[in-house]
């Protein structure tokens, strides 16, 4: 069905255990009004328990069984992603991961697609900032066939010149499209502004200038250095017995040889940028923009930060349908279809981003609302009446994510990637519930201060620049045609390499 939704929120599935009473609802004094019937007592949730073993070659294998429809997801995760890209070769990790399915020593790209799709399965590969992944989703009864294909593409990719050229052209065309979308441009500019020339600053998918520079040798070298069993995790989750999962892991990955060379140390340049950078206010002038994309961005935290759960709850106060940003921007003022924020945690310090799209005329007003709400989180009132439902949102959404085999595997793989205890699945709810208002205020003041936040607006500058200058005299205006994502200056100059 071609449908229009009330919100862009994702309709995944739910579970929760918060026994919240309805006492917090606004009391009403009108005669003859009914009040909603209260909830009955809550039921307990049981989450699946991951079990693991490590193969002789160093590959960590995690199995997690859940009941339900006969589907399984298997994800092979390699601990290296876009953060390893050299500046002039941004997009390398992404291109390498995408090429895995474009041919192996025994199968062509088309044969790989035919093999997995004949089984009804999907095979997807890609790179994130701190990891690269290859995943299959398939009926349980066909997992063995699918895992053979998964192992083939991860262990024996051919990286044929012909396929490299094809992917390069396709990626350049995709960029041509993406770089015309105000929201996409704003997000890419935000990364450069927050992280400058350090590891998380470049576009993960590369730029029109860097993609042509990537050579087969670069791709081959990345694969040899990082795609190895002692740098990988295999997670198998869904309707499958752990013993069976371990057997399949041994069968298809047990003879994957670990190279003699030592594993390269992870680069740690990202956090170098986190303090001291002065606030920038950047307008990308795009006169044909159908809407202005407004983004507030600053450094956030690492995934392993001890303040992680404080950060999650702080972000939940701001974000989500009834979070403060959407309350102020959409619900009260009708200025946007949706406003929200994300605390993007990674191996190193990732970004905190708050954003909304609005008609060009309201660009400055939305910018000041975003900035104001970030400041109010640190300085303003925060009661338990507001906290409790925002924590419930986190818990419910966490539980819903565990209902599909794909969601379950993603959660477990992320814990493994960051070296966290797999038991965190079963302690998540307690960790969220333990956060109080003072935790959030401290976190917001110390780690999410609005003073360290940069502002980026991509849109028709004529319609909002004057109003914006009144609030932010230091605005830098860059024409869309002059935008250069290859460096922190963001401005095209004639003497670029």
């Amino acid at each position: 069905m071609n449908v229009l939704r009330r919100t862009l929120r994702h309709a995944l599935l739910s579970t929760t255990l918060v026994g919240l009473s309805l006492a917090a609802l606004p009391a009403t004094s009108l005669a003859q009004q009914e009040t909603p019937p209260p909830p009955s007592s809550p039921r307990q949730v049981r989450f699946p328990k991951p079990v693991e073993k490590t193969l002789k070659n160093g590959l960590r294998v995690i199995a997690v069984e859940r009941e339900g429809v006969p589907l399984v997801t298997t994800q092979l995760l390699v601990r290296a992603g876009g953060e390893t890209d050299p500046q002039q070769l941004s997009g390398l990790a992404q291109m390498t991961a995408t090429l895995l399915t474009k041919g192996t020593t025994t199968r062509s790209a088309t044969e790989i697609a035919q093999a997995i799709e004949a089984l009804g399965g999907t095979l997807n590969t890609g790179a994130r900032w701190d990891a690269s992944t290859a995943s299959v989703n398939i009926m349980s009864s066909r997992l063995a066939q699918a895992m053979e294909i998964l192992a083939d593409v991860v262990r024996r990719p051919a990286f044929k010149d012909e396929e490299i050229e094809r992917l390069r052209q396709q990626s350049l065309d995709s960029l041509r499209v993406a770089l015309r979308d105000p929201g996409t441009i704003a997000a890419l500019v935000a990364s450069r502004v927050v992280f400058g020339d350090s590891a998380y600053g470049h576009p993960l998918g590369g730029t029109p200038q860097t993609l042509p520079s990537i050579k087969r040798d670069d791709i081959q070298r990345l694969h040899q250095s990082y795609y190895r069993p002692d740098n990988a995790v295999l997670v198998i989750g869904g309707t499958i017995k752990p013993a069976e999962a371990f057997n399949l892991a041994e069968r298809f990955f047990g003879d994957w040889q670990k190279p003699a060379e030592t594993l390269p140390a992870a680069s740690t340049t990202a956090s170098a940028m986190q303090t001291g950078a002065s606030q920038r206010v950047i307008v990308i002038d795009k006169p044909d923009a159908g809407q202005a994309a407004v983004v507030l961005a600053r450094t956030g935290i690492k995934r392993v930060d001890q303040d992680y759960f404080r950060g999650l709850v702080a972000n939940s106060i701001l974000s989500g349908y009834s979070g403060r940003l959407n309350q102020e921007i959409r619900i009260k003022r009708g200025l946007s279809y949706g406003a929200g924020s994300s605390l993007d945690v990674r191996r190193d310090v990732g970004p905190f981003v708050a954003s909304a799209q609005t008609k060009n005329e309201s660009g400055a007003e939305v910018a000041s609302l975003l900035m104001g709400e970030l400041a109010r989180l640190a300085d303003g009132q925060l009661s338990d009446v507001e906290m409790t439902p925002r924590k419930a949102v986190l818990i419910g959404s966490f539980a819903r994510n565990l209902e599909t085999s794909g969601g379950l595997v993603n959660q477990v793989a992320a814990l493994a990637l960051y070296g966290l205890s797999l038991d965190e699945i079963n302690s998540y709810i307690k960790s969220v519930e333990a956060i109080g208002a003072s935790d959030v205020r401290q976190f917001a003041g110390g780690r999410l201060s609005s003073k360290g936040a940069h502002l980026i607006i991509v849109g028709d500058a004529n319609k909002f620049l004057e109003a914006l200058r009144k609030q932010f005299p230091n605005v830098e205006v860059i024409r869309e045609a002059d935008l250069d994502l290859n460096s922190a200056t963001l401005r095209r100059s004639t003497n670029l390499p």
Partner: protein, 455 residues
């Protein structure tokens, strides 16, 4: 079902699949778990479908109203969708956004969507909130109580939705133009989002009239899936929903018939934000409930499901196009089969258009092989399995069968029909519907390519 799959797994292992030369799987081996639903109709005409499933302590509640964008009043294009937003504002017993307090605030979610033929409201909540939500759905069905301020601010939100979906992204207007050009007389020709002028013309009186006409128990289907006790559910339904009276006025229904197409029509549209040209075709195909749609869905999968599909292989892999998709966009009164392709840089729209036509002709001239047919069915069956992973997915499938196919049993039987499709069936529907005179063609080009003097 779980037991069966384990048996299969054990068998596979016992056979010792030491080599990877595996038997091609056949979709007929796969049995999709059946949804065992209860079906009752209340005295006021409301249909209630339910599936008891205690796997997770949650429940999904959906209310399907048989009213969609095709029912937008004259001069009020976009109204059914705007109305859907207004259903979250105040009612007799609830303040604005109280639905969010009853769902989001307790760890659940709510949302709603408007399609051509239906408007669907749904919540997923911890199961101990089921009674609360049945009360709330009953309350907003019984009556709205919206003020001017809330109405105007929500209308502004919908205008931002229009900008965000159709004006800001590249190709946002492609589907909009395709909808407009694909129908001659049927109200399906009006895109469901409407337009700024007609949204501005909408009033609170329109909201009241629309609610009176369409939001009534005999035009509603309640679907409940998840962790509940059937007897308890029946009692709550009797208490909160059976009490809503059925009005005496008749239900308005669209009776306009879309004429058969008699000659190919070709359109060209231009946009300010079109990095690469696009070409799209539509063919009129039968109403959603028609049996030919099983074979048409299989044809769509053969054409564009996955990277081994025909359009991917012949257009994307050969670098004529950056994307190429085919889908049967099923509607209650009459449907469209759409083919849409965004070009690769440096290619000509006419060349890509001809390549799409070649792929259609191949499916008309030669029967698909057994292996290719099985692949498409395996993909469709596995997709259905993915839809059944959650209570929300199950409720969606059941509601669609009940309201759009007018037979809830089809939630279980359609998949068997689909698995029974033969190569001859596919060839037959390709010949029957994919004729030159049944084609609308749209070229979507950058503004810079508009001929001088043309508007």
């Amino acid at each position: 079902m779980r037991r069966l799959s384990l048996v299969l797994l054990v068998l596979v292992c016992a056979l010792g699949l030491a080599t990877t030369a595996l038997l091609p799987p056949t979709s007929a081996q796969v049995k999709i778990p059946r949804l065992n639903f209860k079906n009752r109709t209340l005295a006021n005409g409301m249909r209630v479908l339910s599936v008891e499933d205690h796997q997770s302590p949650t429940v999904c509640i959906e209310v399907w109203y048989h009213v969609g964008s095709k029912d937008d009043p004259d001069g009020r294009s976009g109204f059914a969708h705007l109305f859907e937003h207004i259903m979250f504002k105040s009612t007799k017993n609830m303040k604005s956004e109280m639905m969010d307090r009853l769902t989001e605030d307790v760890g659940g979610l709510n949302n709603a969507f408007t399609a051509n033929d239906v408007t669907v409201y749904y919540e997923v909540v911890p199961s101990n909130y089921l009674e609360t939500l049945l009360w709330a759905e009953g309350d907003r069905l019984a009556g709205l109580n919206v003020d001017e301020a809330n109405f105007h601010s929500e209308r502004d939100v919908v205008k931002e939705e229009f900008r965000q979906r159709y004006l800001a992204p590249p190709y946002g207007k492609l589907s909009y133009y395709m909808t407009q050009h694909s129908f001659m007389t049927h109200p399906y020709k009006r895109p469901g989002i409407g337009n700024i002028e007609e949204l501005n013309a909408a009033s609170i009186e329109d909201v009241r009239a629309f609610h009176r006409s369409f939001y009534r128990p005999d035009n509603a289907t309640l679907v409940v899936v998840g962790d509940f006790d059937q007897k308890q559910l029946d009692a709550w339904v009797d208490k909160y929903l059976a009490r809503i009276p059925k009005p005496d006025i008749p239900l308005p229904r669209v009776s306009v018939k879309e004429p058969q197409r008699t000659a190919e029509r070709v359109f060209t549209e231009y946009g300010p934000n079109v990095p690469l040209p696009a070409v799209a075709f539509s063919y009129l195909i039968p109403p959603q409930a028609d049996a030919d749609n099983h074979a048409l869905r299989v044809a769509a999968a053969i054409l564009s499901a996955g990277r081994s599909s025909r359009l991917y292989q012949s257009l994307v892999y050969r670098q004529l196009a950056t994307s190429a998709t085919a889908n049967a966009a099923l509607r209650e009164d009459i449907s469209l089969f759409n083919l849409t392709s965004i070009l690769a840089s440096g290619k000509k729209a006419e060349v890509v258009g001809r390549a799409l036509l070649d792929e259609i002709r191949k499916l008309q001239d030669d029967p698909v092989s057994a292996a290719e047919l099985e692949k498409a069915k395996n993909q469709l069956v596995t997709n259905q399995l993915r839809d059944l992973e959650t209570n929300n997915g199950k409720a969606d499938a059941l509601g669609e069968a009940a309201v759009l196919l007018n037979d809830p049993n089809r939630v279980n039987t359609d998949i068997e029909q689909l698995q029974a499709v033969t190569a001859t069936d596919v060839q037959r529907v390709m010949k029957k519907y994919f004729t030159d005179q049944n084609r609308v063609v749209l070229y979507y080009l950058p503004e810079s390519e508009r001929p001088k003097g043309e508007k």
